[in-house]
Every structure is written in structure tokens, then in C-alpha cells.
């Protein structure tokens, strides 16, 4: 019953819990009140405070007398509700004494605005009492809003898991309708080889889910409650950078997974033709002039790469110090030229053009009017990343290889692409993320918004820091601000939203918070959390998230199931669900 000793307002009120009933934080409740004309107004809300106290006693020490059975006192059990919805929209207050009930079924749908979502709702997790929390897909796919942002401290391993769970839910709940097969995901694996087993069933999932079901007293498993299959991802391709130092064969640089991982790389010509040079420089704004140099060299390289389709480049105006061995397959029109077939050679060539040619003056057309110091800075930076990019940008491959290993997240028959960049250095990671996203963005600009692509990127604060400027940040900003109209949805995650470019976080329609550092939770980026939630964000357990979406004005606490896909090699269910003995028989035969 709504309390009469506290102010009752249309947005928040307290209610007394009758003996025998119980209510906990995050429970969704409904209360109806009647206007003087008899019409009913219903208030739906979420419990954000619960408390008990002795009523009718004055002194703290009275509790001893009450427990000793001398002093009669009643326990007042009360809870505060933050109203999430008033229907119809008459913002009158409920009256003290109005009965408050748990919101179930139809009321629950109203409380979470599921009625507005219609068939565009997909399960975003389970509420504390085992009911499904719907998320409005229209606010994810760009129709009304887009992008998902997840914050939480690391080590609790929840950000990526929740992002993957949401993807699984989007792909498999049928919310995409007929275009389900057209939805794609591009996932960057930045940590360990965790995500390289997405297509393998998890051997622990059955036991863990049975556990959770028993603990929470759910009628069915959490997957079943949400109507999702407990299955790994389908149609997954795994891309990983080639192992450095292997000049001849190109092998993916992964340790744990033996097969099914495709190496990816770019040809040297692509590097120039597709203007990837800026993505090598993460601190473009270190000096203004450096930006000009990058721009003009990018243009020079682009022109240089015109006119042929070999993976390597040929230049005629350079005599490197080391003797170049002529390959046997040298073509007639390259006679007299020098072939640039490694990234190192490209850097050497640029150094020559900018610094060494003309007795240290540099080639005037390349140098422009830049001061030597700037040019030196440019070359120094290139040299710095040379080691990291050499395996990725190569000219010593065949045309077929170049086509075969070119990363293509939109390849036919592939729904999910995992790009493993955890072995790369920070600069190379930036380069890969920047180039892939730029390509994707440009592609979507051409073809338009059909085929939604979800981009999962952890550690946004690294790629799009609040301070500073970088080409990768520009791409991410483009995606955040225009991507949703093109069908690119960013599922970004970071430890601290306060360190990410504000425009990226603020463009996310769905915001999710896992466990937060309490100091972090007080920053303005988390204003969407009511105070009581901010305090609680410090004690959230793995598997529990606070989800805020535009349809529901308050965040809702959900838990989500244990992944059905393996997240580590030792979780892979290599028996495929069969008994060990059966599998053994297969081998023996």
C-alpha cells in the first residue's frame, strides 16, 4: 500500500509491504489509482530502495526491549518506487493506501513498455524474478536510435560477454525477421584468444545453467525462458594477423586454435590505393604540420599505386643501397624499376624521397614546403611502426594470395567475423580497426542500410579517447553519428565511459553498466543512473548488468545466461554432447 507518511508524487513514492509479502530491489510493480471521475490511472515503476525499521519506538536501544518481548513494535517494511510509466498519461499522484502489486505478464509488458515495442522486442536478459526484459530493437538497429554502450571494470569479464549475449539474442530471437541472415557482426578480439571459439559449444553451459536455474528457482532454463537456443554462434569466420617473420607461407598468428582461422593482410598496393597511411598515425595532432605531410604523402602514394594491379609497387627513381635481386617473374614494363615488396622498403623509399634525394633536400614535389624536422618526425614515426605493420602490409605475395587473405567481414555465407588483434601492438591494432571500420563505413555509404552490421569493439577509450584526435576516432565518430542511418551499429565497451569521446557514448541509445568503480560511477557520464543505482553499481556480480533504454526511463537490472559458446579452449565441448566412450569408438574404428 502506498504510504501516507511520505510524499507521494507521480514520479516516485514509498509503499508499505504487508506482512507475508516481500519485495526486493529492481522488482517491477504496478499501482492503480482512481481519479474523482472514476477513471483509473496506473503507475508502473521499479523498486529502488527497500528498508525495514521498528515503528512506534523512539530510541535505538528500544530494539533490545522489542527483541526481549517487552516492547510492542511493528516492523515497518517499506520500499521506494521510481515510476517508469504512467498510463494514461495523467500525472496525478497515487493516493496513500492504493494497493501496490508486483507487475506480472501484461502489467510487466506495460512497465517495460514492451507494448510499444511489439514484435521489435528481443530478450535483453532476465529480471531478478525470472521474467524476460525486452529491449526495443528499433533503438538498436538505427530505426529510432542505435548503438549500445557497455561500461564496467575489467576482470569481472562481463562487457564482452554481455555484448555477445546481445548479439546472440538479436540474431537468434527472430527480431530481425526475414533479414536475420543478412545481419552481420564484426567483432574485434582484443584480449587473449577468448573469442576464437565462438562457434564451439561450451561444455559447461548445461551444468552452469542448471545451477543458476536451481539457485534462482526458475521454472525453466534461462535460455528457454528467453526463447533462445543454447547454441554457439553460426557462420563464423575467424581472422587473425599472419605470424611475423614467415616470409613464404602465411600462417595465422594464433596459439590455441589449430584450424579455421584465416590470416588476413593487405597488399602494399592496397595500402597506397586505399589511403591507409593516416591510420598508421595515432597522434596526428602532435603537430599541425605532420598532418599536412601525411595528407600529401597519402596522395603521392595513391598516385604511385595507380596503373597496375600487382601486390607490390614499382618505382623507377630509387637506387636502394642494398642490391636488389631480380625476381624471375619480373615483367617487361618493370625493367629498370625497383620493386617495393615489403613495408620496410616502402618506408625506405619514402625516406629517400623526403630526406635523401637531391643531396639531402628531398624530392621537391614530395617534400612540398615542409621543414626537414617535420619530415624527419614523419619518417621516425613510420620507422617506429614498421616492425608491427610488416606482417600485415606486404608486397611479397601473389595476386591470388592478396585476394584470398584480404579481410572481408561481408563475405557471403559469413554472419559473424571475429578479427583477432590481441597479438598486435597497440599501433597495429589501431591500424586494423581503423582500416576495417573505414572500409566498412565506405561500403555501407555506397550500398545503404540494408544488412545491419554490428561492430563489437572493446576498449573504446583507446580508440576514441576523449582528448586528442586520430583518424580512428574520426571513423568511430562517423559510425556513432551517421552509422545508424547506414546500418552500422556500434556495440562499444570500455572500463570508463568518462574517458571516451563524449559524442560516441551519448549517441548510444542503449546503455549498459556492469560493475563500476564507485568514483567512476559518480561521473557525469552515468547521470542516467539514479543515485541508488550508482551506489549499487559497485557491488554488481558478474552476469548482472544495469540496462537503460529509451523506452524505459530507469535502468533495469538484468542477469544473463552463461555463454553457450566456448570462451576458452578448455571450455570447448569437443565431444559434441556425446559420451566419451562413443567418441572413442569412432576413433578406434
Amino acid at each position: 500500500m502506498v504510504l501516507g507518511t511520505q510524499d507521494v508524487t507521480p514520479v516516485s513514492f514509498w509503499f508499505a509491504v504487508l506482512p507475508g509479502a516481500s519485495v526486493q530491489l529492481d522488482d517491477l510493480v504496478v499501482v492503480g489509482t482512481r481519479k474523482p471521475d472514476g477513471a483509473e490511472v496506473r503507475f508502473y515503476g521499479i523498486v529502488d530502495h527497500v528498508r525495514t525499521r521498528h515503528e512506534g519506538v523512539t530510541f535505538d536501544s528500544d530494539v533490545q526491549d522489542v527483541v526481549a518481548g517487552l516492547l510492542p513494535a511493528s516492523v515497518s517494511y517499506a520500499a521506494r518506487v521510481l515510476v517508469t510509466r504512467v498510463h494514461p498519461e495523467n500525472f496525478i499522484p497515487p493516493q496513500p493506501g492504493d494497493a501496490v502489486r508486483h507487475a506480472r505478464d501484461a502489467d510487466l509488458r506495460m512497465a517495460l513498455s514492451a507494448d510499444k515495442m511489439g514484435d521489435k522486442a528481443f530478450p535483453g536478459g532476465l529480471l531478478a524474478d525470472g521474467q524476460v526484459m525486452p529491449i526495443n530493437y528499433r533503438f538498436v538497429n538505427g530505426e529510432n536510435g542505435g548503438h549500445i554502450n557497455i561500461s564496467g571494470i575489467s576482470g569481472v569479464a562481463t562487457k564482452t560477454s554481455f555484448a555477445l549475449f546481445l548479439l546472440h539474442s538479436i540474431f537468434r530471437s527472430g527480431v530481425m525477421g526475414a533479414s536475420a541472415s543478412a545481419g552481420r557482426a564484426l567483432i574485434f578480439n582484443v584480449k587473449g584468444e577468448d573469442l576464437l571459439f565462438l562457434d564451439q559449444p561450451n561444455r559447461d553451459v548445461t551444468a552452469r545453467e542448471a545451477d543458476a536455474q536451481a539457485q534462482k528457482g526458475l521454472p525453466r532454463s534461462r535460455y528457454a525462458l528467453m526463447g533462445l537456443p543454447a547454441e554457439p554462434f553460426r557462420d563464423v569466420q575467424f581472422l587473425a594477423p599472419p605470424r611475423p617473420g614467415s616470409s613464404g607461407t602465411i600462417v595465422a598468428h594464433v596459439e590455441q586454435r589449430a584450424s579455421g582461422v584465416t590470416p588476413f593482410l593487405y597488399s602494399l598496393r592496397e595500402f597506397c590505393l586505399r589511403r591507409m597511411l593516416p591510420y598508421v598515425f595515432v597522434d596526428r595532432d602532435a603537430s599541425v604540420n605532420l598532418g599536412f605531410v601525411i595528407g600529401s604523402i597519402e596522395e603521392r602514394l595513391y598516385r604511385l599505386a595507380q596503373g597496375a594491379d600487382t601486390p607490390y609497387l614499382t618505382v623507377e627513381d630509387w637506387q636502394p643501397d642494398t642490391e636488389q635481386l631480380l625476381d624471375e617473374d619480373v615483367r617487361f614494363d618493370e625493367m629498370g624499376g625497383v620493386r617495393l615488396s615489403t613495408f620496410a622498403q616502402l618506408v625506405a623509399y619514402l625516406e629517400y624521397k623526403l630526406l635523401d634525394a637531391n643531396d639531402g633536400e628531398g624530392d621537391r614535389r614530395w617534400v612540398g614546403k615542409q621543414a626537414p624536422a617535420t619530415l624527419q618526425a614523419f619518417i621516425r614515426r613510420l620507422r617506429g611502426v614498421q616492425k608491427h605493420l610488416t606482417p600485415l602490409v606486404r608486397g611479397d605475395i601473389t595476386v591470388t594470395q592478396a585476394a584470398q587473405y584480404r579481410p572481408d567481414p561481408l563475405k557471403a555465407g559469413v554472419q559473424t567475423t571475429v578479427v583477432d588483434i590481441h597479438t598486435l601492438s597497440a599501433t597495429a591494432q589501431m591500424f586494423v580497426v581503423g582500416v576495417l571500420l573505414r572500409d566498412l563505413f565506405e561500403h555501407k555509404e555506397r550500398v545503404g542500410r540494408q544488412d545491419t552490421v554490428f561492430v563489437v569493439l572493446d576498449e573504446l577509450n583507446k580508440y576514441a579517447p576523449r582528448d586528442g584526435d586520430s583518424p580512428i576516432k574520426d571513423v568511430l565518430l562517423d559510425i556513432a553519428e551517421r552509422g545508424r542511418s547506414l546500418g552500422i551499429i556500434l556495440i562499444g565497451a570500455q572500463q570508463t565511459a568518462s574517458e571516451v569521446e563524449r559524442r560516441i557514448v551519448s549517441n548510444a541509445a542503449v546503455r549498459v553498466v556492469g560493475r563500476l568503480d564507485l568514483a567512476e560511477a559518480e561521473r557525469p557520464e552515468y547521470r542516467f543512473l539514479p543515485q541508488s543505482f550508482r551506489a549499487r553499481a559497485g557491488i554488481l556480480q558478474p552476469g548482472t548488468m544495469l540496462v537503460s533504454q529509451p523506452d524505459v526511463p530507469n535502468p533495469v537490472l538484468v542477469n544473463y545466461p552463461f555463454p553457450a559458446w566456448a570462451t576458452r579452449k578448455d571450455e570447448v565441448d569437443d565431444l559434441q554432447g556425446r559420451a566419451a566412450q562413443e567418441v572413442g569408438e569412432d576413433w578406434l574404428r
Binding site: 501516507g4 512506534g56 519506538v57 523512539t58 530510541f59 536501544s61 528500544d62 526491549d65 522489542v66 527483541v67 526481549a68 518481548g69 517487552l70 516492547l71 510492542p72 513494535a73 493516493q95 496513500p96 493506501g97
Partner: protein, 348 residues
């Protein structure tokens, strides 16, 4: 020459009378337990005693009225409310104490010979209920008669409540079959009737307005230690109309600045008019009274009338005040009701 001593009455000065008044007693007092006038130590609570009820009542005059009925008769009256209630507790602390029957009753006491309809004060809105006053005639037309009527109603209700709960006390030497399982503590002296009411009802008198003991016996009261009691006496009032068993217990040590009887309380139980024997139950109650009351006594920082105003009584008083509702609010609603029912608009 002995030094002059001044010591404080422990109770707040705005209470009517202090804890100590000490008017001399004119009735009869007989030693019924023992002729030896000495302190008797408290005994532990018997396991069989599972329920102790603390009963109290409260009344309030809410508005004085002048009534004129349809036949032209007129008289004084008043809107009043009274409430009685009990706290039920287990003296062994096995269950939480609970409030019982704390319900306010409202009466419109009016001069006799008036024809009065039950007066209903209509509620202002559906959320705050209605106030229903039952008319009762007073015995005279004295201006204080409505208040007295209200007081009498309250005392009767209190008495009924006390006896409804308590175990019965056999006043026959041969009949001791009923063990003491339920005891009622009633605030104030036992007022009505006598032994015919029966029941293990103890009246506890917080103040000492009458000095029952002769001067040679008073000294024991100052010498009692907490929990100790005096022997039981049989007492007959000056008028001879009421007879009681009575004894004193000490609840706590008196502070050095307080008068030496500040922690002492007088208890009484119904007694037959002829003092021929002491019922076993009365002795049993007297024996446990020190232990029980020391446990129930409150602390001075919580209650100005500590320790005599018992912990459950204080809670009960609070609950009773709450049950009667806010006096300001009720007076206002009475006024609003009269304005609406008999105001100029209603007449026109």
C-alpha cells in the same frame, strides 16, 4: 542537630501531582501474609506463566457542544473519544510483544432527555475514513458530566478488557486447580467491584498519593532493594466498600538526589471483604511481581516517569493516542461537519 535534607520528586513538574503526595490512610489494614514486617526477596518467574497483559486506557474530550433537539430541549454535551488496549507479552521473552484491541471508540455524550440521532461525521474524501460518534446520555446536566461519562465508559472498558485476559483467582481454600498462566497488569488502582470479578488482575499504582502504612512501617519502603517487596496486607477502604490485597515493590534504586521512595510502586489485587486467608495465586503473583516489574520498568532517559511507567505501557499509550487520531484534525472535521450540516447553506 540533624541536617536538613531536600530531595527531589523524580517526576516532571507538569504532571498533576508528583509521585509522592502521602495523604494519610483512614481505612483498615491487616497483616494477612505474615506478621513479620520485613522485606521479601523476589522469586523467579514460574515457567507456567506464559502471558502477561498490560492494560491501559485513555480518553479525550474533543469538542464541547450545546445541543438543541427537535422538541426544543437543550443541554450540554461533548464529542469525545476513548480507547483501551493491551500489550500481550511473554515474561520469558519467547515471542514478540504485541498490541491487542487498541481501537478508539467515539461518543457524543449529551445531557439526559435529549433526542439525539447517531451523529455521523461525513468523511472528506474516500481515503481517510469516517468518524462515527455514538450518542450516550450523561447522568446529570453538570457541565463536567460529559467528561465524567466518558471517563466512566473508559474505566469500564478497561476493566472488562483486564478480566477478559487474566487467569481466574480461586478465592476458596480448597480450589486451587487453575494454575497461574495469564496475568493482567492494569494501570492504576482496581476500581470496580471486588472479588466477584475474579481474575489475576494486578493494579499497579505509580504514585503514592495515600500513605497506607503506619509511621512505624514506612521505613521498610526506603530499605527495599530492587525486586524486593513488603508482605501482603489486606486493606479495607474508609468507606468499607472496597477491599484489596496490597503490597509494595521496589523497581530500582533511588538516585541520591531523589526521595527514597522514588523507585517504589504499590500493587493491589481484588480481595474478599473478610480477610480469612491469602489465596495461593495472590501470593504467587506477589512473589513474582518484583522480578516481573524490574524487567518491565523503563529507563529515565526514555520515559520521565521511569521506572514506574512500564515499557509496554509507554508503547501502549503511544498506540492509544495514535488510535484516537490527531486532535486538531478531528476538531477541524467536527467544525466542518457542523458547518456543512447545520450551516447557513443547509438551512436555506
Amino acid at each position: 542537630m540533624a541536617r536538613m535534607r531536600i530531595r527531589l520528586d523524580p517526576w516532571p513538574v507538569d504532571l498533576e501531582g508528583g509521585q509522592l503526595t502521602l495523604a494519610p490512610f483512614q481505612g483498615d489494614l491487616i497483616d494477612i501474609e505474615t506478621p513479620r514486617w520485613a522485606a521479601i526477596p523476589a522469586r523467579p518467574l514460574p515457567q507456567g506463566l506464559r502471558r502477561v497483559y498490560v492494560v491501559d486506557g485513555k480518553r479525550r474530550m474533543e469538542s464541547r457542544v450545546f445541543l438543541e433537539d427537535a422538541h426544543g430541549s437543550a443541554g450540554m454535551g461533548g464529542f469525545g473519544a476513548f480507547v483501551v488496549g493491551a500489550v500481550s507479552l511473554c515474561p520469558h521473552g519467547t515471542r514478540p510483544a504485541e498490541l491487542l484491541d487498541v481501537r478508539a471508540q467515539r461518543v457524543l455524550a449529551h445531557a439526559p432527555d435529549l433526542l439525539v440521532n447517531p451523529t455521523q461525521l461525513s468523511p472528506r474524501d474516500p481515503h481517510t475514513g469516517q468518524l462515527l460518534y455514538t450518542p450516550v446520555a450523561t447522568e446529570g446536566s453538570d457541565p463536567l458530566a460529559p467528561l465524567h461519562r466518558l471517563q466512566a465508559l473508559m474505566l469500564n472498558a478497561e476493566q472488562d478488557l483486564s478480566h477478559a485476559y487474566a487467569s481466574s483467582v480461586p478465592f476458596d481454600e480448597t480450589d486451587d486447580t487453575e494454575p497461574l498462566t495469564a496475568l493482567t497488569l492494569q494501570d492504576g488502582t482496581l476500581r470496580r467491584g471486588g472479588a466477584t470479578l475474579g481474575g489475576a488482575v494486578v493494579g499497579y499504582v505509580k504514585t503514592m498519593q495515600t500513605q497506607y502504612l503506619p509511621p512505624d512501617r514506612v521505613g521498610l519502603l526506603s530499605g527495599l532493594k530492587p525486586g524486593e517487596r513488603t508482605p501482603i496486607l489486606h486493606m479495607k477502604s474508609e468507606t468499607g466498600r472496597s477491599t484489596r490485597f496490597t503490597w509494595y515493590v521496589r523497581l530500582c534504586e533511588a538516585a541520591f538526589y531523589q526521595h527514597p521512595m522514588s523507585g517504589v510502586m504499590r500493587l493491589e489485587m481484588y480481595a474478599p471483604p473478610e480477610p480469612d486467608f491469602l489465596p495461593r495465586t495472590v501470593r504467587e503473583v506477589a512473589n513474582l511481581s518484583g522480578t516481573l516489574l524490574c524487567r518491565l520498568g523503563s529507563a529515565p532517559h526514555k520515559d520521565p516517569r521511569a521506572p514506574q511507567n512500564l515499557i509496554p505501557t509507554a508503547a501502549l499509550e503511544q498506540a492509544m493516542t495514535r488510535a484516537m487520531g490527531s486532535a486538531d484534525l478531528i476538531t477541524r472535521r467536527i467544525r466542518a461537519h457542523i458547518a456543512a450540516a447545520y450551516g447557513q447553506e443547509a438551512v436555506a
